[in-house]
């Protein structure tokens, strides 16, 4: 009340440079019936081979984010209610052909996108995805599946707010895998490709191919390559710095000035 006269004389706010609030959008056709403006949370993807440190980093990030008061949700491949059991079965049995396996994974992905990721984003939760469409596409491309077909298929995917690809040289990866499991996984060694009868050699070749493919994908899809060969603490710090920057730049969009202008 005492400041009313003064308030009337204050000129309207000059154009304060507000960074454009990143509008949620899909890579392609997307899912029908999704109200993109209602997606308030953030989708952060951590990609990388087995042994790249994904799970370790995600666990750290969850602790850090929740410590800072952000609600989080974790999603990953083969976790859908719809087809995860059948997918496990299929992988063990080695009975499905490439396009089928590809579509099975895509169904798993779509189910999680619709039933886990989007609802969480609507609720303003930060979703941490352990892998996303890029691993799925890379795996398929290495097996000869048409990248154009894949791009159309995964046009249903929401564009993440950040994608971090933990890149680790294959020789380092293999050491980490042995430290964890003392054995190499058939699929992660690309044994189905017949690159080599020797699993160790196959693993190295396959992981090299995957890295090359990831770099190829980067030409179309935006992601940040993180040197995963460094110590976990160093990697965590880098990820936190980048995520902090992401959350802060969005913070401006939530500022009183921006909200008032939007009203």
């Amino acid at each position: 009340m005492p400041f009313t006269r003064k308030a009337k004389r204050i000129p309207p706010p000059a154009s304060v440079p507000v960074p454009p609030a990143s509008r949620a959008h899909f890579y392609g056709h997307g899912l029908p019936g999704v109200e993109l403006e209602k997606l308030n949370g953030k989708l952060i993807v951590v990609e990388g081979a087995d042994g790249s440190g994904r799970s370790t980093q995600i666990a750290q990030l969850v602790r850090w984010l929740e410590g800072s008061g952000h609600a989080t949700l974790q999603v990953g491949l083969k976790r859908s209610t719809l087809v995860s059991e059948e997918l496990e079965q299929a992988q063990h049995g080695n009975i499905l052909s490439h396009t089928t396996l590809s579509l099975f994974y895509a169904t798993d992905f779509a189910d999680q996108l619709e039933h886990a990721i989007l609802p969480a984003l609507r609720a303003g939760i930060i979703v941490l995805a352990d892998r996303y469409i890029y691993t799925l596409m890379a795996r398929d491309m290495v097996r000869g599946i048409d990248p154009v077909w894949l791009r159309n298929l995964y046009g249903i995917a929401l564009v993440p707010d950040a994608v971090f690809y933990l890149e680790v040289p294959p020789r380092e990866l293999v050491q980490r895998v042995f430290a964890k499991n003392q054995a190499l996984d058939f699929w992660e060694s690309g044994m189905d490709l017949g690159l080599s009868r020797d699993m160790f050699d196959s693993f190295l070749q396959y992981q090299k191919l995957m890295q090359k493919t990831f770099r190829q994908l980067r030409e179309t899809y935006e992601f940040t390559i993180i040197d995963g060969s460094r110590s976990p603490q160093v990697v965590t710090t880098e990820l936190q710095t980048r995520i902090e920057a992401l959350l802060c730049s969005e913070g401006a969009a939530d500022s009183p000035t921006a909200t008032a202008r939007a009203a």
């Binding site: 392609g28 056709h29 029908p32 052909s97 490439h98 619709e114 159309n152």
Partner: protein, 229 residues
């Protein structure tokens, strides 16, 4: 999409039948199979939504109401890809006559009515070649509806298109849902040169026409197994 199996150099030929539920297409394709087998042809029959592994996910999804237009589309595409890669293509390579009760056009029609972008659905199935012949059993909507409702008075959730929320009443919903699919089929029939069969005619008349057309378009003697029965 692409070329037919013939154009791609496959020794086999694929004949597909399409139509609404209740159009009589399943009866017709079954009779066609009989006829071809009786002539000694190498024939294989495949129907929509029949891959074992995918079936369990589909029925789970339907029971628990987990299916959205996108996952519904993808799961059927997975089923199709499985049959296509494991059965249809190898058999066509081996010089079989493959009969399909429903082919990609079912997806093109249904998934679009459910709300999936047409381009996306077409893209999804672009790995599949086109049939060498496609029969579309065309009956007025009311006739198809009457036939289904005659056989099975209880309409299943997805069959009635209840997930589309066109109507709360299953019968009304079904009517509207099938009507939209029918419209899609009409457009597809022109685009893909379906052989239109009047599904209101007597079964024997329809089958006669089907057999005539097949004999005309396919070199049947070439499909007769050389080995004695």
């Amino acid at each position: 999409m692409k070329a037919t199996f013939a154009e791609l150099g496959f020794p086999g030929r694929l004949i597909a039948v399409e139509g609404l539920d209740g159009s009589g297409k399943s009866t017709q394709v079954h009779l066609l199979q009989r006829w071809l087998e009786q002539q000694g042809c190498r024939v294989f029959f495949s129907e929509w939504n029949s891959s074992a592994l995918v079936k369990s996910a589909t029925s789970k999804g339907k029971k628990q109401n987990l299916l959205t237009p996108t996952t519904f589309s993808l799961i059927h595409a997975t089923d199709f890809a499985d049959r296509y890669e494991r059965q249809l293509v190898p058999l066509l390579r081996a010089g079989y006559l493959v009969l399909c009760d429903r082919y990609v056009f079912t997806a093109f029609a249904r998934d679009v009515v459910r709300g999936c972008p047409p381009d996306w659905v077409r893209g999804l199935y672009s790995f599949a070649a086109l049939p060498d012949m496609t029969f579309f059993f065309k009956a007025p909507l009311e006739v198809s509806l009457a036939r289904i409702l005659d056989n099975r008075p209880v309409l299943k959730f997805h069959e009635a298109g209840l997930d589309l929320k066109l109507s709360a009443d299953p019968y009304e919903s079904f009517r509207l849902f099938q009507g939209r699919i029918f419209e899609q089929y009409l457009a597809l029939s022109t685009e893909f040169n379906f052989h239109l069969i009047d599904a209101v005619q007597r079964i024997e008349l329809q089958q006669g026409l089907v057999r005539q057309l097949v004999a005309h378009h396919v070199d049947l003697p070439g499909f007769v197994s050389k080995r004695p029965a």
